[in-house]
Amino acid sequence: MATSVAERKLTMARAISEAIDQAMTEDPSVLVMGEDVGPYGGIFGATGGLYEKWGSERVLDTPISESAFIGAAIGASAEGLRPIVELMFVDFFGVAMDQIYNHLAKNYYMSGGTVKHPVVLMTAVGGGYSDAAQHSQVLTGLFAHIPGLKVVMPSNAFDAKGLMLEAIADDNPVLFAFHKGLMGLGWMPSDDQAAVGVPESSYRIPFGQAAVARPGRDATIVTIGAMVHRAVRAAEAVRDRIDAEVIDLRTLVPIDRAAIVDSVRRTHRLLVVDEDYRSFGMSGEVAAIAAEEALDYLEAPIRRLAVPDVPIPYSRVLEQAVIPSADAIEAVLTAWARGA
């Protein structure tokens, strides 16, 4: 978490748009395109104010032609621009996946390192507000699976700004996923913990460095994004019985193996919490890292909480049954506290 003493609190949405604005000021090759990123300011406010300041030459509303405008970022970046491309919801990327996973992600490698694509793909993830199966997914595991894409998901405004500036400066394609429930939008429930002090100056947070969201000695919870705050709340609720450490990965690619391994070696217990689908994703990856490098230190089987391989259902009670809750995290910790 931010150790900065900045007093100015920003929502995550404001922190992201400020980061983009600063990058646009520093580097004329940075531009933004996507659906409703212009006068509307982005459905989730991530491009608020940019159109008014930079105009339609550098903040471009696009048709609903994702293959075309995401693919266009490939050529534009090869020719020296640094596009930030927003596609509202991560769920919508299916229509443009070929441009992403066969080209954007691979061209650097296939070209023997001669072609670079400094592109940021920015998108909203997550559920919890009854938007059903095509508007509530996280899907970061899908992108992290593809060699050549970096994957970033901040849990708070300080990290969001620093990670966005790093993403824009990076010479590789970066998927920047922000959780809708962290953005500080008036019309959507938002976790208070996400709005934190953010320095006005421009700063970068290097990828691959996890943050300790809560230090602890008895168990390790590895998580990312909105689940960080749930994990911290659960850990606080049972602090008298078990002292859990919460690790915020911040980036899935690259992943901070050392942070995971060091913590597990100290605490001897690992719970992975992910709002993405369980199988073949982050939770399995983190468990594998622990098994590879800290197996002898584990005193209990690794536990995972994630969406149990079902589409996100619409009805509130159904949705609540599949998205990992603070209660479910607490239950795992409590069982461990009882000696399980």
Partner: protein, 334 residues
């Protein structure tokens, strides 16, 4: 067109309007004083189609229950006109167990196979499945047709062009209907589309393309009748673009700051329902008493559907974990 037919169309338009107005009211239930998308009787996004009744009614009136329709994130008008069970549709929107999908789908994902209706929250997603339904109908050797409805914004999606080409190449019984309500969220048509009329794009695929101006149900009726008859007769696909207007925002809660001054007022003044009523009355096809009867009847139909939804139980949370695969179930859960 007989007076009875015209009155039936009018009644259907009134039913849709009543439904959408009722949904707008119910949507804010539990969301005041502070609006939260997650709160209330009906949470999540809500895209209403008031103003777009002529499209749904003018087209679907030429369809039979066994014809297939795909719709969009803004599906209620088409669903109602296609004959989707109003009670079970409403229960689905309420997330209840008696809903069309047991509460798993919601307002953007309504499925009613009894009348071959489906929709999707992904823009442009409905074109290819309609082509596929048309393939199946042709193979079955009968005269069923498929109709894909989508917004003007969706006509810039690759699926639109690929599907038109495929349908034309294979000469399939499918009709593409573009609902031109001038905007895709905040982006006006001219800001997203290189030509003024998507219907002109039909020329690129060698199929007829027709633009219906004025949000006029009778004009839609005429063009749709011919296109659907062509498809049934085995003469191939047609593209129809219909000018219409979106009387609510893109979604409920949309502040619509992007609209031009007076734009919404102009649409309201051109509201297709009062215009149609006036026309019917001038032709003596509708009396004031009949109009009142229709109003009462559609209000009751909607109220009954809402009552049904309210009385339906919320689903058993454990059902969230079943039904990912058709039988036999596969579980990867530990």
């Amino acid at each position: 067109m007989t007076a009875d037919e015209a009155r039936a169309m009018y009644r259907m338009m009134r039913l849709i309007r009543r439904y959408e107005d009722q949904m707008a009211e119910i949507y804010v239930e539990g969301k005041t004083p502070l609006f939260s998308i997650a709160a209330g009787t009906v949470p999540g996004e809500m895209h209403l189609a008031a103003g777009q009744e002529p499209v749904a009614v003018g087209v679907c009136r030429h369809l039979r229950p066994e014809d297939a329709v795909t719709s969009t994130h803004r599906p209620h008008h088409v669903a109602i006109a296609k004959g989707v069970d109003l009670k079970r549709m409403t229960a689905e929107i309420f997330g209840r167990q008696d809903g069309l999908c047991g509460g798993k789908g919601g307002h953007m994902h309504l499925f009613d196979p009894a009348v071959h209706f489906s929709c999707s929250g992904i823009v442009g997603a409905g074109f290819p499945p309609a082509v596929g339904s048309a393939m199946a109908f042709r193979r079955a050797g009968d005269d069923r047709v498929a109709v894909a409805f989508a917004g003007e914004g969706a006509a810039n999606q690759g699926t639109f062009h690929e599907s038109l080409n495929l349908a034309a190449l294979w000469h399939l019984p499918v009709v593409f209907v573009i609902e031109d309500n001038h905007y895709a969220v905040s982006v006006p048509k001219a800001g997203s589309t290189a030509i003024a009329k998507n219907s002109d794009r039909a020329a690129a695929y060698g199929v007829p393309g027709l633009y219906v101006a004025g949000n006029d149900v009778l004009a839609v009726d005429e063009v749709a009748r011919e296109a659907i008859a062509r498809a049934r007769a085995g003469s191939g696909p047609t593209l129809i673009e219909i000018e219409t207007s979106r009387l609510y925002g893109h979604f409920q809660g949309d502040a619509e700051g992007y609209l031009q001054a007076g734009e919404k007022d102009a649409w309201r003044q051109q509201d297709p329902i009062p215009r149609f009523r006036q026309m019917l009355m001038e032709r003596n096809w509708l009396t004031a008493a009949e109009d009142a009867e229709i109003e009462a009847a559609v209000a009751k139909e909607v109220a009954d559907a809402v009552d049904y939804a309210r009385q339906s139980e919320t689903p058993d949370p454990s059902t969230a974990l079943t039904g990912v695969f058709a039988a036999p179930e596969v579980s990867q859960a530990s």
